[in-house]
Amino acid sequence: MTTKKTETKSITPTKGAKKKSKNDKWILRLYVAGPTPKALTALKNLKEICDDKLQGKFVIEVIDLLKNPQLGHDDQILALPTLVRKLPAPVRKIIGDLSDTERVLVGLDLKQQLL
């Protein structure tokens, strides 16, 4: 629990993962307001999805706006929790505790569009 209160925390996966694209890691920022249940759920869901789909090519930063309110300004954060995909471009915003995996994948552009 305590670890999640830190300003930024990156989780780097084990090496030896498949390279998905020429670009490097994905940078994902999760904005929360303290260790609320929604925040914890979101982080848990996020880790699962990333482990599943990105296989290590990612960096998750958890930003606690209660500690640093001004950091939400650039990304125009209103709703919490919000996941912002900083890299690869374009920037994508996903609101909610990420329980709806399908939508998360659509939002992150990870899902193949079904016809």
């Binding site: 919490l80 915003k93 990420l98």
Partner: protein
């Protein structure tokens, strides 16, 4: 029966002054402090400007910093937009008195994946408020969130929470919202923000648009409940409260000259009362503006300021036309004693014009206000509105003890004592200029219909515009009625001729008498000289006779002597006998 305990500490609702001219009067001190106020209206009503002015004046006049959360415009756009009101936002931002936060909500960028709340907004707002210690907050306009975030239930719950949070934070907030069809705001914000609700309206009637403001609700305070017109110009908002607070204006007994000395005489010898309302009516071309020019000239000569509202002519034209009757208004304009304001009322609507007049009077601080002509205020068939406006204007001027001079154009067919706007009861002194048509020409006559509080002449005088200004002459009332113009001149000539004739007659008679006198005197002289001659002759004869008698006596004596008469002649005489 229980006795109701009275709360010993009754708290009065504290108010946060807006600094907006007129609004503080209507609300009884300003917006409710520490509570949110809802400002709603259609597009282009001025909600953002009102909110911004509230913040800016809070920062500059009341030393209360403010935060502006903009959901629609960016910081740059806002700064540029309010520059036209004369607010320098950049300076205030650099002084940390105002903070603008643009919240950008783009629907397409957002994917909703589960439960969420709007804590981010709270944090952001909180941060902004704390960073400058803001006491005033504006949210403009929260309804943008409704289009950005799909789940309205969460949104509404969060908004309710937000307004409660704002109250707890103790900031005075303005929330703006778009006008809805049936509800006050499109999204029904008035459910949550209901301490004070102000509605702005932008109405078009008879092709002129007026902006109006109305306080629909103000919990905990009395407020003006009518619709008040307001203006947005280069100094910001101005709301015009209705000024008729009862007819309790002070009066003075000072009199001021009308500028035409003969007219002063007609008005009890001294002219108009200071602070009274004067009306000059007449048909076209009778010289009303000329009287106005005389009055301004006289006032400027006394060093008083004159504000001239010219509703039909341009100032340059007025100055040129008055030069032709010998009044130089340009010199007073140059000295800053006379100011013209010329705009047709159709340009901005009656209420806006009234607000403009208020502003001008407050800025220039004149002692005389001239409105030429008030009949311009009738646009279409709005006589009632025009009357109400003029009533308010006259009230306002009287409260400030300003003398008002108005001219009114009467249309030819109506009776002259009837003004289309029917304001005769508001007027203290009423001069009438009428045309007198006789013998193939029109001349002007002036008479005083009424002048409250003073003795005035009831005579019609002939009104002439000469090179030296306005001149009033006696009219002749002859067997044909009033004679003016050339008929008067003819009559005058006739009378002069008659007089001359009499004069000559008298002269002639005098001459005759003189001559007769002279003749008589001559005759007397002749008789006298004759008499003198005769007298002289008679005297001569008498002298000769006397001489002769003497001589005789002497001769006798001598003879007696020679005849040796010793005896005295008496004895001889007696002896001899």
């Amino acid at each position: 029966m229980k006795k109701i305990k009275e709360n010993p500490e009754t708290t009065v609702l504290e108010k946060s002054p807006t600094g907006i001219q007129g609004l503080d009067e209507i609300t009884g001190g300003g917006l409710p402090k520490g509570r949110p106020t809802l400002v709603c209206g259609n597009a282009g009503c001025g909600k953002t400007l009102l909110a911004m002015e509230f913040l800016v004046r809070g920062a500059t006049q009341y030393n209360e910093p403010g935060v502006f959360m903009a959901f629609e415009e960016t910081e740059k756009e806002l700064t540029t937009n309010v520059e036209s009101l004369g607010f320098d936002l950049n300076k205030l931002i650099s002084q940390n008195m105002i903070k603008i936060d643009h919240v950008f909500v783009e629907r397409s960028e957002i994917e909703i994946t589960g439960e969420y709340d709007l804590e981010g907004l709270f944090i952001r707002l909180n941060y902004a408020i704390d960073s400058i210690g803001a006491k005033r907050v504006v949210l403009d306009t929260v309804e943008s969130l409704f289009s950005g975030l799909p789940n309205h239930m969460i949104l509404r719950a969060e908004l309710r929470r937000l307004f409660r949070w704002l109250k707890d934070k103790g900031v005075t907030a303005i929330i703006t919202g778009e006008r809805g069809d049936e509800t006050l705001t499109r999204q029904g914000l008035e459910e949550y923000v209901s301490d004070c609700v102000i509605v702005l309206d932008h109405r078009v009637s008879e092709q002129t648009s007026t902006r109006r403001l109305r306080i629909v609700k103000y919990r905990g305070s009395s407020h003006g409940a009518n619709e008040y017109p307001f203006l947005i110009d280069d100094t910001g908002f101005s709301v015009l409260p209705i000024t008729s607070v009862g007819l309790k204006h002070n009066v003075t007994c000072d009199r001021i000259s009308t500028g035409v000395s003969r007219l002063d005489t007609m008005l009890g010898g001294k002219g108009y009362f200071r602070g009274s309302s004067v009306l000059v009516s007449g048909t076209a071309g009778t010289g009303k503006s000329s009287l106005a020019a005389h009055f301004s000239d006289a006032a400027c000569r006394r060093g008083e300021r004159v504000l001239y509202f010219a509703l039909e002519e341009s100032p340059a034209q007025i100055i040129r036309n008055m030069l032709s009757i010998g009044i130089n208004l340009d010199q007073w304009v140059k000295k800053g004693l006379l100011r013209f304001h010329s705009n047709r009322p159709t340009f901005s609507g009656l209420e806006s014009y009234l607000t403009v007049m208020h502003k001008e009077v407050n800025n220039f601080k004149p002692r005389v206000v001239i409105i030429d002509p008030i009949s311009s205020f009738i646009i279409g068939i709005n006589e009632l509105e025009a009357k109400s406006m003029i009533m308010r204007l006259v009230d306002f001027l009287k409260m400030n003890q300003l003398t008002s001079f108005m001219t009114n154009l009467s249309s030819g067919g109506t009776a002259l004592e009837h003004t289309r706007i029917d304001i005769s009861s508001l007027i203290d002194t009423w001069l009438l200029l009428r045309d007198i048509e006789i013998g193939g020409e029109r001349n002007r006559g002036i008479y005083i219909l009424k002048s409250r509080g003073m003795k005035h002449s009831n005579q019609i005088r002939e009104f002439l515009l000469t090179d030296q200004g306005v001149d009033l002459l006696d009219v002749y009332v002859g067997p044909e009625g009033v004679l003016t113009g050339s008929a008067r001149l003819a009559q005058e000539a006739k009378e002069i001729a008659t007089q001359t004739m009499h004069h000559q007659e008298i002269q002639r008679k005098k001459l005759e008498i003189y001559r007769r006198k002279k003749a008589m005197e001559a005759q007397i002289a002749v008789l006298k000289s004759e008499f003198e001659t005769a007298e002289a002759e008679a005297l001569k004869i008498i002298a000769i006779e006397e001489q002769a008698t003497k001589q005789l006596a002497k001769d006798r004596e001598d003879m007696a002597k020679t005849r040796k008469a010793d005896a005295p002649p008496e004895k001889v005489n007696s002896k001899k006998k």
